[in-house]
Symmetry: C2
Subunit: 396 residues, 2 copies
């Protein structure tokens, strides 16, 4: 029989990235396409010790239903750590544990935006957020990334003419897909504009702890004194992505509504792994562990950028990351980036075409995303070689 799908979900297509992910069964294919943390970053031995301790002492609690808002000690840890590291957390704030940062984005949009409302986004931006917004029937309105960031004047002009704007979605630090970090002045301007036009800011910060060069810039949430910023964080890039544990820190009124929606979404997040996270935050040198991940990614990013430098800046332009997982690259003056990405795939190198991250998928894109955290050093060397040869091929 033929099925008719809902108005909101009818137009949705699978994310190109996860489709690429599925196609990587051929072991000879090199992938710079993932957004995965390095398997070397997983603290496996300690994870096992903590799981065993929990199942020895507290199995009945770990395997039973828990509270929708999350494991109470972990909620406290999350508030404490984000206060200490990022200066986040006012008296009115609460933390809710979510099934990855993705659920935080999805539920925030669900509770704050009605069908037909618009979300203003950096353009390009994270496809998982764009599709979450689309699945709620929301318009995604892009503000172009220019140089290192969006232009506040352009943002204000777009907000002004978008009558149904409700939410401003931002990844200020090591943005996905561009790897760029928003300067302090632009962050302040975003908050000012949100105040002026009564928007809520959804600040997505999954990579914020992964800085390996330069100085930290304050989160927008830390500058907000009225509860206008909903902040999403995650354990995916510092402990394990497969366990699906993230969190939202936001005003208690919004948190309560998110909890009601989470209840009917998945009741609560996997409790055993919440308890494991609590142990990692209280009985483990998490800061030391994150430091080692930073060193690993610094090394990997340097290996990749070194190879890209050899191709020559007349042939490839790219962002030099200060942290996170991604590099954004483009071929100066070259028009057909989609075609170029296909050529790479034929030569067994997967990268993500820039168009994937467009707020409007029908617009062309002049770039593609490279990831350096997942491939091995050998794969980085081999993959950048394919990239170089393919560029030389088309450029002659």
């Amino acid at each position: 029989m033929d099925f008719s799908f809902s108005d909101n979900t009818k137009p949705l297509r699978p994310s190109a990235i996860r489709e690429i992910f599925k196609s990587l069964v051929d072991p000879s294919v090199i992938s710079f396409a993932a957004g995965n943390p390095s398997p070397q970053s997983f603290p496996v031995g300690q994870f096992k010790t903590f799981v065993d301790e929990i199942l020895d002492k507290d199995a009945s609690a770990a395997l039973q239903y828990g509270i929708t808002e999350g494991y109470t000690p972990l909620r406290a840890d999350v508030l404490e750590r984000n206060k200490r590291i990022f200066g986040i957390g006012e008296e009115y704030d609460a933390a809710i544990i979510t099934s990855g940062g993705q659920q935080g984005i999805d539920l925030t949009a669900k509770v704050l935006c009605s069908k037909g409302d618009a979300v203003i986004c950096e353009d390009p931006t994270f496809i998982g957020a764009l599709n979450a917004f689309r699945a709620h029937g929301l318009d995604t309105i892009g503000v172009p990334m220019r140089g290192g960031s969006i232009d506040p004047d352009e943002l204000e002009a777009i907000v002004k003419k978008t009558k149904n704007a409700k939410l401003l979605y931002l990844i200020p630090t090591f943005q996905n897909p561009t790897g760029r970090t928003m300067p302090l002045e632009v962050r302040k301007e975003c908050l000012r504009i949100a105040q002026k036009y009564d928007l809520i800011i959804l600040e997505d910060n999954p990579y914020g702890e992964l800085r390996f060069s330069g100085e930290d810039i304050p989160t927008i949430k830390s500058m907000d004194k009225e509860g206008r910023v909903v902040y999403c964080g995650s354990f995916s890039k510092i402990l394990s992505s497969g366990m699906r544990v993230g969190y939202v820190i936001c005003h208690g009124d919004i948190a309560s509504k998110i909890a009601v929606c989470k209840q009917v979404n998945d009741v609560h997040t996997n409790l055993l792994c919440q308890m494991v996270c609590h142990k990692f935050m209280t009985e483990f040198d998490l800061d030391g562990h994150i430091k080692s991940i930073r060193e690993l990614y610094k090394k990997k990013s340097k290996l990749m950028t070194g190879r890209l430098d050899e191709i020559g800046s007349d042939r490839i332009e790219y962002t030099k990351p200060d942290g996170g997982l991604f590099i954004w690259a483009s071929l100066p003056g070259y028009k057909d980036h989609d075609g170029f990405v296909k050529l790479l795939a034929e030569r067994k190198l997967c990268v993500v075409p820039g168009r994937t991250f467009n707020c409007d998928e029908n617009e062309p894109s002049y770039g593609f995303r490279l990831n350096y955290s997942t491939p091995t050093d050998e794969q980085i060397i081999k993959g950048t070689e394919i990239l170089k040869n393919t560029i030389n091929e088309i450029r002659g």
Copy 2:
């Protein structure tokens, strides 16, 4: 600041049950209010062995991102088991692993129903499903439970006059909250009516394997030969509820759309626990384990019903369960069941007021839900004593 919530989620209130759950910090309160499996039903030792094996041999996979549709071996196990136990699974069917059965319900509604569509439900029914439907802006239209089930003629009349009906939500076996099982003839009629009026049936079967008396009745899904039934199952009541692993078996076209929406909801379900479930389904006597849960619940239900019998059928009427977790009780001729439930709470016995499960919360209810799987035997004895005394108090 004041926040304005979305049209769909503005009217949502926290589930009364989970609020009761939170209030149970006072250890002297006895709860017949939960829907929790017995902690005795968790195979803790084996769980730990399996987790250790996975983390020893396959940690990089278990802690890394996985495929949205679920861990491939587990998807195959789920199809195989449901074929064997329930005769479910046509060539066009696919399995998707979800974060508990709840997510299966939520995503099925999300992909099939647009705002303003109606879901026809047994009345009363599972509050988690009702609120999931409401959170998508759907109308919940009830068909009264009469005697053991809904009346097919009444169902057809209601479907006929509900122009925007899209989905028929049913818990045919050991229904929540009534504990009742739908007879075969009614199941056939539900499928016939769904065909005639082009509805999709969402068959929710979290308790189906927990029969401790009587004979299994075929699932509606097993009678469907065109892909009209979406079937939700769960590991919550046979292995662990805290791990949040469930599944949907449905036509591949619907499964693909559910996968796209799951991707933007939580990317995938906790992978470590999916891998644990795979081991439980292939390296463990799951049938033997479920048999022991049935015996446990048979014993507990008999203890509770024996005590209820002593109160006398002129004072309390209730359903004798053949399986599952619940008993539905009412005081014959008594009007104020909400008030009675409050009286019980003052005497430190929590039960769930029937109104919680109404499709229309403004309608009165003449019953309340009792759970026998979670309380200890001692608590069952003490709690039914409170029930008896309170009934005697109001009846004089």
